[in-house]
Subunit: 498 residues, 3 copies
């Protein structure tokens, strides 16, 4: 009954309950199809009909176990586990504010409304899609051994199973509601990362449709490979504690494909040389970075999926990696460009955080600081390399989430350790663990890259083909997407300097 | 000893302790009255005098029960309950930042300092007023059966009662300090909602006095009808889990009266047609919306007033309603105006959140998403209707908090369920619960509307009469309230576009 | 086994474990010294070498006690204590965002990037410095009885000791990771306060070096006098619950010395009269104040270092002091200058919070409100006094953190009480406690002032001497530090009004 994480760490192995909830939606669809009145009335009319079909819980009454049946240690663990996971969930959801501020602040003011709208709306959409189908795909029962899972639509929020789990003396017995919400927030994060890469030129509606596909299908399918206890990568021993690969690199790769299909913003490259297009509001960008830092305390320590003596340790590895990333990126960017660039400090922090996300439970403290510092070093050069490749990544999201996502996955194979117990053995190439972990980590990182690039290329292409392209017109881009896509300005009271 | 909420859910039924604390303030008042020296010296002199009168706890020593006397399950529940409520309180207080950013961002830059100052100062005032008298009125002993309560000034922070409650095997045993602070934050929320409706034209001092009256008397009195266990609405079976009516609609109605008495801003209506007066900073408005979303995880799940297996369920209903509201408002506003307006996405989210606030513990997941979606639909049309009525609501606060506050109360009568247990029966008109719930919910919503409109009309009128009007001069309004009321600008370094 | 705080309250008395971790760093240093290749390759090469030396835990395997060995009350307390402290830590770290927004918002836009960069980078540096050496100095074993402590570099994150502590029936058994992170966040706060005082004219690199010295040595040494259980001030009975003196006044004094050595900004004094230099963004300044308010709920209640029935009480004293500070500062500044200045409302809130930080566990509720109100009054006059003295404190940081830090320390000697039990006796001059407490509090406040002024004068001078001054050139200052120090602007899309 120890809660110490053994290698490889796994996310919740509890399966969604079998009870299919498909009956309700079927009723709803049939009722919509049957209506021949005008659209808006039909829409309103479906509300009561939907309620009749879906509006009450259809499963059996809950089992007899209640909070009051738990023994002292059981109650303590159950309540602490569920409280901590709920708080972690709130922190991860708060990251939306961080992403919105970083991305908006690092773009030009004429596109600020568009970025803000994307971030707000896509989170609402991601939660809905993940609720309807994504969560079931990611944590359902296997359809094709270890590669594809499904459990019917929606999920059963009955907390009885978690209480019975606690009453049996287990730890980490999360009620379905908190497990769903925590995972839904992660799905939203992946979608938000894409937003930065395609900023300042993608059509609003087309981006929204892509986000729907990403959070409903692409992310949950590959996520299940590791975080569903029966996934093929989990069975191989792949380690990705909180999602350097599963969340960050997937977001990074998905956005990279979008950025490449879109092409660079007008004026970004002159004679093949990348031009600076400075962000319009460094105050909110900095605020966003600090909010993301805070949110990461839910993202990483929350991925312990229980409250125990190791949660704070994960927070320290996370903090030291952020510090290492900030220091390395600042030093390197000062050495290479003469002055400490604030956007590089911000990206250094985020790079450090992404670099520790996979290994935050499999790293010593020194190893964590170094993993972050190398991430901070990498991000400076990656930004330059992306520019050199002629790819336009307005906020450096691929360098931060994609490149450092891969780095964070691979570094476990270099100097990771086998869990958080003080006596944990080295499992990396450089600390006596041999080559095995490194190979598995590289394989996993590659699997996420290949899957995401292929499916997202397909998705962006189909969406673009269907709607007539994913890029706004040249006129609209020059004028700014705020007017073109939303008919408004972010700062109408202020005179423009341009 | 189960903590499952039975219908109707009730807030803390524990009464404030009897011990009157009036002695201290009486001494203070007498000492002030007796002084004939100049004012500032007198003020300083009262400090030591006050201390002698008030500065030590005057009640008997605490009872013998301590943390170490609790059994395992008792300690687990007591600590989790009080920790969770404290965290929920922090989240609700954080909503001040959300309201400040949304309201300031959606107004013009020349009035930004005024809105920010109102939000900061009014929260300080609300906490003080609620501490001195409001909490006692809301949770005291009944003076007039079910309609008016009072328990003397201040409150007794002795935690002994809560420990004894826990030692007796009960759950939800909150120490008075956390219960007070949670409720005080709710009182502050009601006052902050008003701020949005009267923005850009109300005098600072007059608004401050109104807020004092609202948080000390108007809000606590009507709040006690439901959340004081002996209130007449509670006894009727009225359901308002976290305050769609009690907090949001009260704030909305109070502000509406203010907005009507003030009249529209100069230039808002030309030939009877509403003119767009766009907000000056959509970045902070969006940030504010996301902060409010986060804060709502304290507002709604915190209203369970305990940590148990249902808290996360309330968070999921809250999240899905926000998502539904965002999606519906975006779709509808795109259909009606051609482009997705960011202010409508923001208001859709807030509308969804307000729409689930009453029923977040009495709704299925599908029901929650739909309640939010209908709220998002309502807010789009309500904003237009308020404009058509010639009422100037600069940030759409009445549509969000007033109209959706009523909707969120009433929807329980349409498709609510009887608690959060999976087997909970339908209590709405559309899911087999008959008409009874709907009628009681409508009665409650109406009671809050009537009470608030009447008392606030009186309060605004008396304050206006006493101070010579509540509206700034035409010159000051044109120049901006920042200069007129505060002698400063919000963004002095930036050139104006107007 | 009661957790009631007895006077004087003390921070964790648990010592860091003895096991020296110096071996690893020694190996690292030797490996660096031995390399003769070029610098950047050497840097990269140290990574694997460092890993071999440091990368695995070198201490013995953990003791046998696990979570599952704890009894019900033990598990409940252990989990609640560690969960609460972790959450408190997150809140304190969030204060970085608050400080960054307040300080940036209250300065001119041409220096915004510089302030933001300082706040971001210095926190990363502070955490690293405190990890390497500061924490060991502050909470290590005494080298010179009660005055100087040290325990080797780094710290041992093994949670076994905390579990054994819990298994022995103790409360407040924090795992080293959470204790370190909480204390590291405090160290970062002290450094951030300095940033405000030297804003708009200090060189970036020189400030960074000073911050390193402050967080690695100056702050931990004086901090140990009280918060290390064996410190000489702790032994005297000095009370500083959460750091009015230890954190805030140290930050204030350190910055004051910097501000005096730097001299005023160009244009601040004309003919000896202070000129207004208004902040450029009151929206983010207000947001920052609210974030700080929220963060203080970690700072003060977290300093209870356990979850118990008193944590929420500390939150109420904190809230009431903030409210009192806001109200007093607003009233006084309206009386003295005619209109309620938003910066004074903000500084009033912060003054109230600083004023209760030392006494938040030793004050009645009325006493707390009054302590905050007097702080709000003090800050208005202190700002004027600092101006009159010809010292340029751009954001009022010395008045808030320095002056009110002293006031908050001393007020306990005026009307403090002996802990948070309802029956706690008065220990102040005005409530029957005699002169003793007042004298000790004044002595402690003086000790922090003298220590900080002397060491910081030395540090600033040595750094200035070594690097050729700590102030930017006149040209750079006039143009703005954003261009000079960072080569970028905070808001390039907006036209300047200046």
């Amino acid at each position: 009954m120890t809660t110490a994480l053994q290698s490889p760490p796994r996310r919740s192995t509890a399966r969604l309950q079998e009870a299919s909830l498909l009956n309700g939606p079927m009723l709803l669809l049939r009722s919509i199809r049957g209506l021949r009145t005008n659209q808006s009335i039909a829409w309103l009319a479906t509300v009561p009909l939907a309620l009749l079909g879906l509006g009450i819980f259809s499963f059996a009454a809950r089992a007899g176990v209640g909070l009051s049946d738990l023994s002292g240690p059981q109650a303590a663990t159950f309540l602490a586990d569920n409280l901590w996971l709920f708080i972690a969930t709130i922190l991860v959801i708060f990251m939306n504010a961080g992403f919105a501020m970083v991305e908006a602040g690092m773009c030009r003011s004429k596109n600020a409304v568009n970025i803000l709208a994307k971030n707000l709306f896509v989170f609402a959409l991601a939660v809905t899609a993940y609720w309807v189908v994504g969560y079931s795909i990611m944590y359902g029962n296997s359809a094709i051994g270890g590669w594809l899972f499904f459990n019917g639509l929606f999920f059963d929020p009955d907390p009885s199973g978690a209480l019975a789990c606690a009453a049996a003396g287990d730890t980490g017995c999360l009620v379905p509601a908190v497990d769903f919400l925590f995972q839904a927030a992660f799905a939203g994060t992946a979608a938000t990362i894409v937003s930065g890469l395609v900023a300042e030129r993608v059509k609003f509606g087309e981006f929204v449709v892509f986000s729907l596909v990403l959070t409903a299908f692409i992310y949950p399918i590959s996520g299940s490979w590791q975080w569903n206890g029966d996934g093929w990568l989990a069975n191989l021993g792949f380690i990705d504690f909180a999602g350097s690969s599963i969340v960050h690199s997937v977001g990074g790769w998905a956005g990279l494909v979008g950025a490449m299909l879109l092409g660079p913003r007008i004026g970004k490259f002159v004679d093949g040389k990348a031009q600076a297009m400075p962000g319009h509001n460094m105050a909110i960008a900095t605020l966003g970075a600090l909010v993301l830092w805070i949110g990461w305390y839910g993202f990483n320590p929350g991925s312990e999926l229980a409250m125990d003596e190791y949660v704070a340790y994960v927070a320290v590895t996370t903090t030291l990696a952020a510090a290492g990333g900030a220091i390395a990126a600042t030093v390197i960017s000062t050495l290479t460009s003469g002055k400490p660039d604030l956007t590089m400090i911000i990206n250094g922090i985020l790079a450090g955080l992404v670099s520790i996300t996979a290994g935050c439970g499999n790293m010593t403290l020194v190893g964590s600081w170094l993993a972050g510092a190398v991430g901070g070093l990498i991000v400076v050069f990656a930004v330059a390399a992306v520019d050199s490749a002629g790819i336009d990544d307005p906020v450096g999201a691929f360098s931060v989430h994609g490149v450092c996502g891969v780095w964070g996955t691979v570094v476990i194979g270099l100097w990771g350790v086998d869990g958080m117990d003080p006596g944990a053995a080295g499992i990396g190439l450089l600390n006596g663990g041999g080559l095995n972990t490194l190979l598995i980590q590289a394989l996993g990182a590659a699997a996420y890259a290949i899957w995401t690039v292929v499916t997202c290329w397909l998705a962006w292409s189909v969406i673009g083909g269907f709607f007539g392209g994913i890029r706004v017109s040249e006129n609209e881009e020059l004028q700014g997407l705020d007017i073109g896509e939303h008919g408004m300005e972010a700062y109408p009271d202020f005179a423009s300097a341009r």
